[in-house]
């Protein structure tokens, strides 16, 4: 745990109660910086990668290779005027904050590339992350209702329906992994994969997890709730300025978390020969991230009924079947 590490250094110089407070402040600042930098960097990767697929250049002007483009965009979003009218003030302003908080909280719980490299360590980290992911249908409904817009309302309903249909598959998948390792803690799941990755036991489960994860975070091809063509932006149509920026950043955080989870749960996390664990983790996560980012730019968007049918008819039975197989394996 990072906190203990910082605390042990600080307490060598300063007296006990004060050093506790100081190290707490340092950790808080560090957490804000790290959790902000990761999504902004991933956002740059996404934009650049998409641009290469579409034979464009992508961001080039701000910073080296356009690395600082997202900072520029967020700064611009901060200066935007608030234009929505006839909204329900509380629900309108509550949703972006809640969604961003839920997203950033995930980054605090996930280990960042090594055992103990997390800001807050809790024994049931996997369950907690699932809870944070599963909160979004409620928020979508609240946002869609609070915006006082037909498109937003339809988008909110679609989003809630979609996420509810895929959540179940996700929890079943997580349970089968937890069953195999005997723990809900990410660190112990990774350490139990030191010999063989779970991807070898559960290849189908991994695919189900990636699909369900994409659906939960509304990444294309599962972006029906925001469907930029037909519903304009779905449930976030009325949002502008930094409220929209919160959604944008939260989106990238959740993409990153899904990619990290795939690495931790199925690809052995930081386990690997020859080079250090954190490098292994970065390589694996980068590959998974690329795989997750690709469908958005090469596939279209299915219809909402096709999407929900796929979730209930294929994904959930597959996940349950895998759970039964894992159970037999453990027995």
């Amino acid at each position: 745990m990072i906190f203990n590490y910082v605390y042990s250094i600080i307490s060598a110089f300063i007296l006990s109660p004060l050093s506790y407070i100081i190290s707490f402040i340092i950790i808080a600042i560090l957490a804000v910086i790290v959790t902000a930098l990761i999504p902004i960097f991933i956002g740059w990767v996404d934009r650049k990668y998409a641009a290469r697929i579409e034979s464009r250049y992508g961001p080039v002007y701000v910073g080296p290779f356009g690395l600082l483009q997202n900072f520029a965009d967020l700064t611009k979003l901060l200066g935007k005027r608030f234009i929505a009218t006839n909204i329900d003030w509380l629900s309108f302003n509550f949703t972006p904050i809640a969604l961003a908080t839920a997203s950033f909280a995930m980054l605090l719980i996930v280990p960042l590339g090594g055992p103990g490299l997390e800001f807050i360590s809790i024994p049931y980290s996997l369950l907690f992350i699932y809870t944070l992911l599963a909160i979004s249908p409620l928020l979508l409904l609240i946002a869609g209702w609070g915006e006082n817009n037909k498109y937003a309302l339809i988008g909110g309903f679609r989003g809630a329906a979609q996420i509810i249909s895929y959540e179940l598959a996700l929890i079943v998948v997580l349970s089968s992994v937890a069953l195999l390792s005997g723990s809900y803690s990410i660190t112990s799941i990774v350490s139990s994969q030191s010999a063989i990755w779970y991807a070898a036991y559960l290849p189908v489960t991994m695919v189900v997890f990636i699909i369900a994860g994409l659906a939960i975070i509304e990444r294309e091809p599962f972006d029906v709730p925001e469907a930029s063509q037909e519903l304009q932006a779905g449930w976030k149509v009325e949002y502008s300025g930094i409220r929209y920026g919160f959604f944008l950043i939260g989106d990238y955080v959740r993409v990153t978390v899904i990619a990290m989870l795939v690495t931790y749960l199925f690809l052995g996390g930081w386990n690997g020969p020859f080079i250090s664990g954190i490098l292994w983790f970065i390589i694996k996560t980068a590959i998974v991230l690329m795989i997750i980012l690709t469908p958005r730019w090469v596939l279209g968007r299915p219809r909402i009924d096709q999407l929900i049918k796929f979730g209930w008819n294929w994904l959930l039975p597959l996940a349950v079947l895998n759970l039964i197989l894992v159970e037999l394996l453990v027995l």
């Binding site: 339809i154 063509q229 730019w297 596939l299 299915p302």
Partner: protein
């Protein structure tokens, strides 16, 4: 009156998925459309009235802005009407150059269709790829005429300039790139993409009877199994001297409309190659005075534009300006079918169907 339990969605005239300024008024129950109305006229510029105030040679810029995605087709149509009415013969080289330009414009127009159709299905990459290929031909048109979207290339009696030297090779080069991309990349992106197939197959079916009821022509009619293409039925320009097929599909759904247009791109490439091979030498223009007077008569000419059969009914009375010019636009008839097509489908499908009609509102509203 809006029924209880239903939402009335006003989509357009300004909406990211609308092609131009078409407005749809959809009554939605749940995710199903129960009633659809269309509203047009947001881009009405009274082009027919403007024609009555301009010399015959001065109307070409307005024709450019009718169907601005296939401007050269419009110019050629207007030139044909005026030349038929005034009895002007154009030299064979001009005929071939016009055929080449018309087909280049048709490819460009269909590429825009492919791109915007993909974009309406959430496939942004397809859109940018299609525009990337269109850019090759855009550059060619720019080198030939000096303009890109509204080239102003055709004039009474031929065209303003002959082909620049060596442009034939550039056209062929661009065409071979486009042929390769259409045959391979677009197949992977669209016709072999399961999501694309599930979104387009069996959606928005236009039967043969419906096509005849609404008077729809062009690629939409050919996707419903009607083998009719004015380039074959009553050949104009050099179409009787080249060998090409008419792609016809029988299902009449959005997928067939997509496939017909993709196949037409390949056929157009064939036509251009033959025309460049047989391109006769000689003069490219009959000298025609800028102001001409056409005796009292009625002239009707119809040609196959990228969107269907475009026609002009020209009434002259011996003056140097048209007495009346009526534009028959194909999409004007096709848009009317939307009110029937958009009922009892999902909201998401409505946009696919509108995109498959491929309306250009400049031509519908005139």
């Amino acid at each position: 009156m809006v029924k209880e339990n239903s939402i009335r969605l006003n989509i357009g005239p300004v909406h990211p998925a609308m092609h131009g300024v078409l407005k749809l008024i959809l009554d939605v129950e749940g995710d199903t459309i129960t009633k659809a109305q269309t509203e047009i006229g947001f881009l009405h510029r009274a082009s027919e009235k403007i024609a009555e105030m301009r010399y015959f040679s001065n109307y070409y810029p307005i024709m450019d802005k009718l169907d601005y995605v296939s401007a050269l087709n419009m110019e050629i149509l207007y030139a044909s009407v005026v030349e038929k009415a005034a009895g002007i013969e154009i030299p064979p080289r001009a005929v071939y150059i016009r055929t080449i330009m018309a087909e280049i414009q048709r490819i460009m127009s269909h590429l825009v269709f492919i791109g915007s159709f993909g974009e309406d299905l959430g496939n942004m990459t397809g859109f940018i790829w299609a525009l990337r290929e269109r850019e090759l031909l855009m550059n060619v048109v720019e080198k030939i005429s000096g303009g890109r979207l509204a080239p102003m290339y055709i004039c009474n009696g031929g065209m303003f300039y002959d082909f620049p030297q060596g442009i034939e090779n550039e056209i062929l080069e661009a065409l071979s790139i486009i042929e390769d991309k259409v045959k391979h990349e677009y197949n992977a992106m669209f016709t072999k993409n399961q999501i694309f197939l599930s979104r387009t197959k069996g959606i928005g079916v236009l039967t043969k009877d419906m096509v005849k009821k609404y008077g729809i022509t062009g690629p939409i009619a050919r996707a419903s199994g009607i083998r009719r293409d004015l380039r074959k039925v009553s050949p104009y320009l050099a179409y009787d001297k080249v060998d090409f097929n008419i792609p016809v599909e029988n299902d009449g759904d959005t997928y067939s409309r997509f496939v017909v247009r993709v196949m037409e791109i390949l056929e157009s490439i064939k036509i251009i190659r033959q025309c460049i091979k047989d391109l006769p030498a000689g003069s490219s223009k009959t000298a025609v005075p800028w102001i001409i007077r056409i005796p009292k008569k009625d002239t009707f000419v119809k040609q196959e534009s990228s969107r269907g059969e475009m026609g002009i009914f020209l009434v002259t009375d011996g003056a140097d300006k048209p007495y009346r010019l009526k534009l028959r636009s194909p999409t004007f008839f096709a848009i009317r079918a939307l009110e029937e097509l958009l009922v009892n489908i999902r909201v998401a499908d409505a946009f696919v169907i509108v995109a498959s009609i491929d309306p250009v509102m400049g031509e519908v509203d005139r």
